[in-house]
Symmetry: C2
Subunit: 510 residues, 2 copies
């Protein structure tokens, strides 16, 4: 029996501080021309890492391989003297997760642009370029997906440095990873130019290669002129806008219109939905990169992974800590006579046991268990589609529901009652609301709540309770400096989230 | 993708009614000599069916394959005109589960004998024989494990009828199952006597065969003189006592002493632990059957299974409803491109997904997931041993804790707080108690509670709450006719179950 503790529980978020309003704008205007502005794209849904990654809380925000989420790790990797404050593009559902997670690692974003709807990477990159070009068209931008693993940030930084000169000269610089196996799950890059050039020199790109079959991958690995396409790009705002003008001109007007009508909201910049919605769903690779003739490749020989599936997580874990018989099992998992397995429990109350398994991944959360052949990692998205088609909540949502003010989760749903745990951030407030069908008992178990019921304000502290009768207009706030946790017991004939009448809401949801 | 709904959720218990005190004794004395008294042995722990079966709530009490638990199904199968009221032998931990489950199917036991400690089947069978012989030494006893599946109860009853005459004549009758496959997981019986005898005639037993290897099993299946040993025996009390006197005389005195000093308790008969504890842990097969020369075999050609592991559950499910590609999946499980798999979720909030699996069993409960090669079903007990060695609760206990008055389960355990759901049977009461380290908030969500706090009695009904301060002497009762459900929120620095001072307890636990 082997037990390594190489994977970590999911979903923890480093302690959050709300970012002060206005901070973003100050930072944004400070000396961006001197440094590279990271563009963090974090709108993806990551269904291949279900059940830990779901549409409501995708993989980039989960702590899949370490203490930080992939998004936090990306932001940290692209911070320091080399970089300016990052520009983040995300969806409305994730805006508070983004700010919480950045605050958790002490990073203040230059701006957080909210995409009204997911439209893949082309509109997002153009929006970032147009937004930054307004202040400085020659600003250097580094577009990076926020779900990559690059353990050596300094080595990556030196690769970025090597890309600066060609980017300033109007090239679009892409980063090519030195391949270590005949990977069929990635796109590849074929280098042009002289074969005798120094490996650190940027090389012209001959062509993008789509995900190959096994034979083609073997051939490219042996050839030496092929690298993995990491999907990381360095360029000036001017270069990218010109590339769109030449190769995808139809994007310019709607993205510009959406930016011009953008609405500031609690430190976020909400792109206007009207023009945005008309944009096609297209990746930057298809829209621009594959058509542009001015691409250069900077080689990156250090470790990189895109965590595209549970097989990648399993492989990464073994790089961190070699696993006996290929068993990667966390502290809540037990492997008996298993070979080449990933056993993972993301719920502290859930034990996982594997007996006699080969090439198998088991990933368990509190509400879903995935068991798959290791070679079928890419088919996990099929499972998500199947569950979604049957209307099963677990396909896209967690029990824990993140809100601007904190989060809640249902502990038990009974006939005519429901018990929730609610956590409210310091200083945060729920909307002033009432319910038609339910009454609520609140018991504070940590911190202090300021509770308003039909105009009467009460401070409710640990081990105190308060009753909110059916129909009463009420609000819950956390006036303190520590998170407030309360247990809510609802009773009533209908307990859906949509039985809510909002009177006032600081988060503009009423 | 295939979805059959052939397995059922675990642990539901048919609605319970407490048995009236004294009912057992009345029934016991009524006409036992006319019929066969079923002896239901239900003390086993069933670790091979972990995680659904655990020491605290073993497989015989779980609804593994139908609406009833195996114990309920056994009791029902051995009820009707042919049989007397059953005599149940069980452990102290299971006594209330036994009475609840019998009440749930409308069966009043002749007696429930509580074994002070598990000592395997030999002492249990002797205790039953001595207990019944006191009223009538010629009483006909049918010993049956309570974890068998025998769909045709009437066919089995006719087999019992065929055993009556030899049993009256002083034979020990065992039941041999017509084998349908070369099973290596069962013991076998070799028949003696003339090969030309009618198949319905009881035949003398030549010998017991231990669990064979595959080749021996194949040979026995082909031979025709071999049957599976079901471990079901029919005999008179007198015959069994004489067999013990001859083959295992050391058992007699301690079992008799334990019976004589037995203490009636709420309708149960608690065997005295002093003599009992000195008994060896031995099966009736080893102690008596394999030595006795007076065994006859009654053939049973209908379907029978002992549900000895998850592979048996998988096999049984396909007999009920043929499964496409061998996929047995319940309503909460999804199989994508799987062959010969069992996918089972016993928690209504837990979805199970299998992708590309072959010969694999996945069994998930709310706090444990088993994934094993189908051919390793017997090694599940190894997993339980491994978890137990690491002190992991799931090895032996469920989150749901059964008590004489009902059950409770922890919904969430936080720092300095805990939330429980508590269900109290109609008419039941918790002990009068106090806690040194915690206070409790109770919110009734179903039914009505009578709550005593420091001498003050309050009726608390649905959607009402009450507070029990730290140190207060309190009691909770359900004075109503329907189960009472409440949510308890505990706060305090120490929340262990052992922080309890009991002042009065109807269940004699103070």
């Amino acid at each position: 029996m082997s037990r390594g503790c190489t994977c970590r529980p999911g979903l923890p978020i480093a302690p959050a501080r709300p970012i002060p309003e206005g901070a973003a704008t100050q930072q944004e205007s400070a000396g961006l021309t001197q440094s590279v502005v990271p563009i963090l794209l974090s709108g993806g849904s990551g269904t291949r890492l279900w059940p830990v990654s779901r549409r409501s809380f995708p993989k980039q925000f989960a702590a899949l391989t370490g203490d930080h989420s992939l998004f936090q790790a990306s932001a940290l990797r692209l911070s320091g003297p080399r970089y300016g404050a990052p520009l983040v593009l995300t969806g409305a559902d994730f805006r508070f997760i983004v700010t919480e997670q950045l605050a958790g690692v002490g990073i203040v974003p230059g701006a957080v642009l909210i995409e009204p709807a997911p439209r893949n990477t082309a509109p997002a990159v153009l929006a970032a370029a147009l937004h930054l070009a307004a202040a400085d068209p020659d600003v250097m931008m580094l577009v990076a997906p926020s779900d990559h693993v690059v353990p050596d940030a300094e080595a990556f930084g030196r690769a970025v440095d090597r890309g600066i000169a060609p980017a300033r000269a109007g090239r679009i610089v892409t980063f090519g990873i030195h391949p270590t196996r005949p990977e069929t799950g990635y796109g590849w890059l074929e280098l042009g130019g002289e074969s005798g050039a120094a490996p650190d020199d940027p090389a012209p790109l001959r062509r993008f290669v789509e995900k190959p079959d096994a034979a083609a991958a073997e051939a490219m690995l042996a050839d030496g002129r092929f690298l993995w396409n990491a999907g990381i790009f360095l360029f000036t705002a001017r270069t990218m806008i010109e590339a769109f003008e030449r190769h995808a001109p139809d994007f310019i007007a709607p993205v510009r219109a959406s930016l011009q009508a953008a609405r500031p909201d609690l430190g976020f910049l909400r792109l206007d939905p009207e023009a945005w919605d008309s944009l096609p769903d297209l990746s930057i690779d298809y829209a621009v990169m594959e058509k542009a003739g001015n691409l250069s490749v900077v080689r990156f020989a250090d470790h990189w992974s895109d965590l595209g599936g549970w097989d990648a997580i399993w492989r990464e874990a073994q790089l961190d800590a070699p696993a006996w018989r290929g068993v990667v099992a966390d502290a809540r998992s037990t492997a008996i006579d298993c070979d080449d397995v990933l056993l993972r429990s993301d719920d502290e109350n859930l034990q996982v046991v594997g007996i006699g398994l080969r090439d198998t991944m088991v990933v368990a959360t509190g509400d879903a268990v995935l068991v798959a052949d290791m070679n079928r990692a890419q088919d996990v998205r099929q499972a998500v589609t199947a569950l979604k088609a049957r209307g099963i909540r677990q396909a896209e949502r967690f029990l824990r529901d993140h809100r601007p003010w904190g989060w809640f989760e249902t502990l038990v749903m009974g006939e005519r009652f429901q018990v929730k745990r609610i956590t409210v951030h310091p200083g945060a407030a729920l909307s002033l609301q009432s319910h038609v069908h339910r009454s609520e008992h609140w018991i504070v178990v940590s911190g202090t709540a300021r509770v308003t019921v039909d105009g009467k304000v009460t401070l409710v502290t640990e081990n105190q309770s308060i009753y909110v009768p059916l129909g009463a207009v009420h609000r819950m706030e956390n006036p303190g400096k520590v998170p407030m946790v309360l247990i809510e017991v609802q009773t009533g004939v209908y307990l859906g989230e949509d039985d809510i009448v909002r009177y006032e809401d600081v988060y503009a949801r009423s």
